[in-house]
């Protein structure tokens, strides 16, 4: 039977198991929206297309499924770019469907025309312009396959309006064959054997764990490996939750705002085992002096990540879960007990660093942001999905919230997108309607997507926004304080932000405020008991900074501790 392009897309989305579409309509995609009327998807109308992608991204990070976005041509499409770039940098599977003007008008500077395929080429894993309806179902199938396989990422499909209304025979392809795309999942057996040998020879090993462990669902294997060998674990921002944050062998995060013991351990280690991480500059600090004594094993599904920034001694291209599984199988034949015992001295050395300096703050005077974060953890016992914005709120969360499980932290690590966290929390809440979702925010970041309060209210999503309100763009202010002799240019929001309680109320959400430390717990309790969107304005100490800090370009052991 013949189907229109719009009907074909709906059929394809059904076959892909899509449950929800984050969308914003417009002229070029109206035929598809018309068809959506009868389709079995939850349709979430956001208030800005950027938020649609962040929401789909949050949905994908929290659930492991592909997030789907549908927007119109021109400005609808260009508004998605920041969201797409965010998902790309963090390897998040999202499929973005954009409307396009009819094929016969493309290139004519028609109304709401934008070359979105050209614009998003460098920030998508792949993208398509559908020029022939006969290719439509194959392209949609490929888009989902590419988005979720290998190193995941966003894929954009541009849909000209005439394609949406034309008709053709519909047949959904059974399988995908792309001759230029064959991700490698199984690591090389010889390399895996060599890795086991290197590990068993090491005296001061560290596991350096990134977001790849989360996207390949390899936490179970990671924990098993650590239990076997007793190797300490440090995580990147993207890796938090891959290993329980309160485990005795967790060193917390490493890098610019990493813990003292994590950074010292990396600098002193003789073997660094990088798992699904990419040696980002915020992790390595000065690259020449990163882990100077260590041999490096790098396990990653993306060959371009290997030896890009740091020369690696033993690369293994493959999926973290499968490679870890094979390493464990090989180790089961070895005397891991003796090895584990042998690492005692190393673990004691690390404990010593913890005793010298650990994350700390004192709750005196005004509310401290770290105090709020710790109380969120205590009240929820970690049973919560946290999203953050970017800046101090993000770093304090990474430091003071011990993430226990994968997919419980949603944060823009690579691109560092302010305004990400609130729509991402909305996406996560849609994936898990009955779980508590808290967006830890800042007064600056929240204003970058606060319009999504309307979305949260419309769909009765009980997302909680905890604004750590310090009246400034805190991380900018911190850098200006440290590196620009306290010239606070354009970083103050003192007295010029809206009243966040009234703002929430204006949208029909609940607004709460805490100004004193003793109000923090009761305000959080109240917020968590309300089955509605709640914005909490925590008026915090404006002078609080994120410590420790490795200034950009310095070696990891050059930490500012206070």
């Amino acid at each position: 039977m013949k189907k229109t392009g719009s009907q074909i897309i709906i059929e394809c989305l059904k076959k892909e198991g899509v449950e929800v579409i984050f969308n914003y309509p417009g002229g070029a995609v109206l035929p598809l929206f018309d068809e959506l009327a009868h389709a079995p998807f939850q349709k979430i109308l956001v208030r800005h297309e950027q938020a649609a992608v962040h929401a789909a991204d949050g949905y994908a990070r929290a659930s492991g499924k592909v997030g789907v976005v549908l927007v119109t041509s021109g400005p609808g499409a260009t508004n998605t770019v920041t969201g797409i770039a965010t998902a790309y940098m963090d390897s998040i599977p999202v499929v973005v469907l954009t409307g396009q003007i009819p094929t016969y008008l493309i290139g004519n500077d028609a109304f709401q025309e934008a070359d979105i395929v050209g614009i998003t080429r460098p920030c998508t894993k792949h993208n398509y312009l559908v020029k022939d309806i006969k290719e439509l179902s194959r392209i949609i199938k490929e888009a989902f396959y590419i988005a979720r396989s290998g190193r995941p990422g966003p894929v954009l499909v541009d849909l000209p309006k005439d394609i949406l209304v034309e008709s053709t025979e519909f047949k959904y392809p059974d399988k995908v064959t792309i001759r230029g795309y064959r991700p490698v999942y199984e690591g090389h057996p010889g390399q895996i054997q060599r890795a086991v040998t290197l590990i068993l020879k090491s005296k001061r090993p560290v596991l350096y764990v990134g977001g790849g462990v989360i996207s390949s669902n390899a936490s179970k294997e990671l924990i098993q490996l650590v239990e076997m060998l007793g190797i300490p674990v440090t995580m990147t921002l993207m890796g938090l939750g891959a290993f329980p944050g309160n485990h005795p062998l967790s060193l917390g995060m490493l890098g610019m705002h990493g813990t003292y013991r994590a950074n010292m351990a990396v600098m002193e280690s003789d073997l660094l085992i990088a798992l699904g991480a990419r040696f980002d500059d915020r992790v390595t600090g000065k690259i020449e002096s990163f882990a100077p004594q260590a041999k490096i094993i790098h396990i990653d599904i993306d060959p371009t990540s290997i030896s890009k920034n740091v020369k690696v001694d033993l690369p293994i291209v493959g999926d973290c879960k499968r490679v870890l599984g094979k390493i464990i199988t090989l180790l089961e034949k070895e005397d891991t007990h003796a090895y584990k015992e042998g690492l005692q001295k190393w673990r004691r050395q690390i404990e010593g660093w913890k005793a010298i300096y650990d994350l700390n703050y004192r709750q005196e005077g005004m509310i401290k942001p770290q105090f709020v974060i710790e109380k969120i953890f205590e009240l929820t016992r970690g049973e919560v999905i946290i999203s953050t914005e970017v800046g101090q709120n993000q770093m304090w969360t990474a430091q003071y919230f011990p993430f226990m499980k994968p997919r419980t932290l949603l944060t823009s690590g690579g691109l560092g997108t302010m305004g990400y966290g609130f729509p991402a929390a909305i996406g996560a809440q849609i994936a898990f309607p009955n779980r508590l979702v808290v967006n830890i925010s800042g007064d600056g970041s929240f204003q970058m997507n606060s319009q999504e309060l309307a979305t949260a209210v419309q769909y009765r999503l009980p997302v909680k926004v905890a604004i750590l309100n310090n009246g400034c763009l805190g991380m900018v202010r911190q850098w200006q304080e440290f590196f620009y002799e306290k010239r606070y240019v354009c970083s103050s929001l003192e007295g010029v932000s809206p009243d966040f309680v009234k703002l929430a109320e204006a949208y029909g959400a609940v607004g709460l405020r805490a100004t004193q430390p003793e109000e923090v717990v009761s305000t959080l309790k109240k917020a968590f008991s309300i089955r509605e969107p709640v914005v909490i304005d925590f008026v915090i100490d404006p002078c609080e900074n994120v410590y420790p800090m490795v200034p950009a370009g310095e070696p990891l052991n050059q930490m500012r501790l206070i």
Partner: protein
């Protein structure tokens, strides 16, 4: 170091833009690039000449491989290979220099493909050294216009470049 990279790509719109964008976006250098359809009309072949140290070339090759429409990438540098480039060069002539231009063209097995009152247009094919040499000789005589195809390259021996 100079590398000659040959690749097979899907013959579809936008592939060239993806490859050019990859080089410009990541700060890789392209010295020359040529592209055309192969015997299989669904596949194009590209020859890219680029420069960089080992780490950069490793990234260039990995990043090219990562592009979905790129089917195969071969760095010819550690193989025996032949490379050629064709140029068309319009040389100004005077009654005194016309014979010399002809002689130079002949020595380099160039062909005169157009003759004007005051110009010869010469077609020459060769590797980088040969092309540089003839241009060096013609330059003092007055080159009015020069177009180059960019390098094309192929592995020596019975195997095709992409079987290597």
């Amino acid at each position: 170091m100079r590398h000659v990279i040959t690749l097979l790509v899907e013959n579809e719109f936008g592939v060239l833009a993806r490859i050019a964008g990859l080089f410009s976006g990541r700060g890789f250098n392209i010295e020359s690039l040529s592209v055309a359809e192969t015997l299989d009309p669904t596949i194009s072949t590209m020859t890219i000449v680029t420069r960089g140290d080992d780490a950069i070339i490793e990234q260039v090759i990995k990043q090219l491989n990562k592009l979905i429409p790129v089917i195969k990438v071969v760095d010819l540098i550690d193989k025996e290979f032949v490379e050629r480039e064709m140029i068309l060069v319009k040389v100004s002539t005077t009654p005194q220099t016309r014979d010399e231009v002809l002689r130079i063209a002949e020595i380099f097995r160039g062909r005169i493909i157009d003759v004007g009152n005051k110009t010869y247009t010469i077609e020459v094919t060769g590797d980088e050294k040969k092309i540089d040499a003839i241009l060096g000789l013609l330059k003092p005589l007055g080159i009015k216009e020069l177009v180059r195809t960019g390098r094309v390259a192929m592995a020596r021996g019975s195997k095709s470049s992409t079987e290597l």
